[in-house]
Symmetry: C2
Subunit: 250 residues, 2 copies
């Protein structure tokens, strides 16, 4: 079976300098769209970008991280109620989707599509990388891709032919995130056991040293995901989603 693939898959951040076929990617997206979607509504759009100057512009919205700047293609997956709303309008149906629940349904649909595409692409020998910056610079992405109202970028994947032999990412032991029947909260001892392996990895020890920190967790809180950044980009994304037509329920 495909167990071998699922257990050994890894994210690819470096690609060969080779264009990849848009037609192939479209076929894989069509297959991915057989994945589950809320009420069959398919509340997403996928935008395939390969044109050089546009790709450069997109990469800059992803802070020119190598996985974006060095990719021959970026696929931007957007939560999309624009198409569905237009269908409602054309059908004398009064849509009431400008709210948080509807946005969340679209986010789930979009993420499911993206992950199904990621799996299909990897099974076909492509390498992919989720660009976590998509929710940071959504307004700039929207401008580059000319997104209309009710369309919000959620996930972007860079894709290409793998040219990267980095290690598989480490994971905590599965028992650490699986709970039986109800949630079993974590004791300090259990936490220490769960993250020990991760903390002892040579690459992570080096990472802590290079950043002048005392612990791996401090790299996450002080360097990679500091509170001030999180709060700043929260407001940017929140305001953008609202300006695209989804009202918050305060």
């Amino acid at each position: 079976m495909t167990t071998e693939y699922f257990s050994s898959r890894r994210t690819i951040r470096k690609y060969k300098n080779e264009a990849i076929s848009i037609a192939e990617v479209e076929k894989m997206l069509a297959l991915a769209a057989e994945a589950p979607t809320t009420g069959g509504m398919q509340l997403y759009s996928a935008i395939i970008t390969t044109e050089e100057s546009l790709l450069k512009q997109l990469a800059s919205t992803h802070f020119n991280q190598p996985a974006a700047a060095g990719a021959p293609m970026i696929v931007t997956f957007c939560a999309d109620f624009n198409r569905f709303n237009k269908w409602c309008e054309a059908s004398d149906a009064v849509a009431g989707f400008g709210n948080f629940q509807s946005f969340m349904s679209a986010v789930l649909d979009t993420t499911i599509l993206a992950q199904q595409f990621n799996t299909i692409a990897e099974l076909n020998g492509y390498g992919c990388c989720y660009l976590g910056t998509t929710t940071y610079n959504a307004p700039q992405i929207a401008e580059a891709l000319e997104l209309p109202r009710f369309v919000v970028p959620v996930v972007a994947l860079s894709i290409g032919i793998p040219d990267d032999d980095s290690d598989k990412a480490e994971r905590i032991p599965a028992k650490g995130f699986i709970h039986r029947e109800k949630y079993a909260d974590y004791s300090a001892e259990r936490i220490s056991n769960l993250y020990q392996q991760k903390e002892m990895l040579e690459a992570n020890i080096k990472f802590v040293e290079e950043n002048g920190k005392q612990s791996l967790a401090q790299v996450f809180t002080d360097v990679r995901y500091p509170k001030t950044n999180n709060k700043f980009f929260s407001k940017v994304y929140y305001d953008f989603i609202e300006s695209q037509g989804f009202e918050w329920c305060r």
Copy 2:
């Protein structure tokens, strides 16, 4: 290759009256956890529920829809910063994750895990159904599963041995959600072409009649996802997320 699976998969809403192996499900969850996750943080928990009275209680939070009430197991996937925060505390790291960006990262991680699990389970012969009601009754689910602060239900899957020969769900033509380079907004004619096939399906024509509506879109706006419901459950979810520790950026 597995193209055959991806093109023919379908959601299963009716299960045989047979228990399924928790150990098997745990193995599949462990495999699914090799899927991408934000910064390797694994911002999720998966709660496997099979105990009869608890399953009944959970099914009621999903409005006793048959896919939930008739399932031998429900797996609830939660956005989880509790575990990560506890690791930070234990590592003298000051976490700043009580905000919208962090919540969204956890939502993406959680949905990716759930979809990878869904694919692996289906490939192994299980049937699954996403319970879209998870974001509606999150406070009741949290109570049933004893979720602590910083843990929010996002997705629930019912799972079992398939006993359902329903048709594969219809999808709009893939060109309808795929855009090249930039977003190409929809003309009325294009919308009409995209949804025509869906509207002409016998099951959907019957569905419109049974609900006394004039169009398929009206079934979505007036019956399945009416604005008043969307708004009501938006406020419930929004307030719950905030009460779990994620501040909104107003």
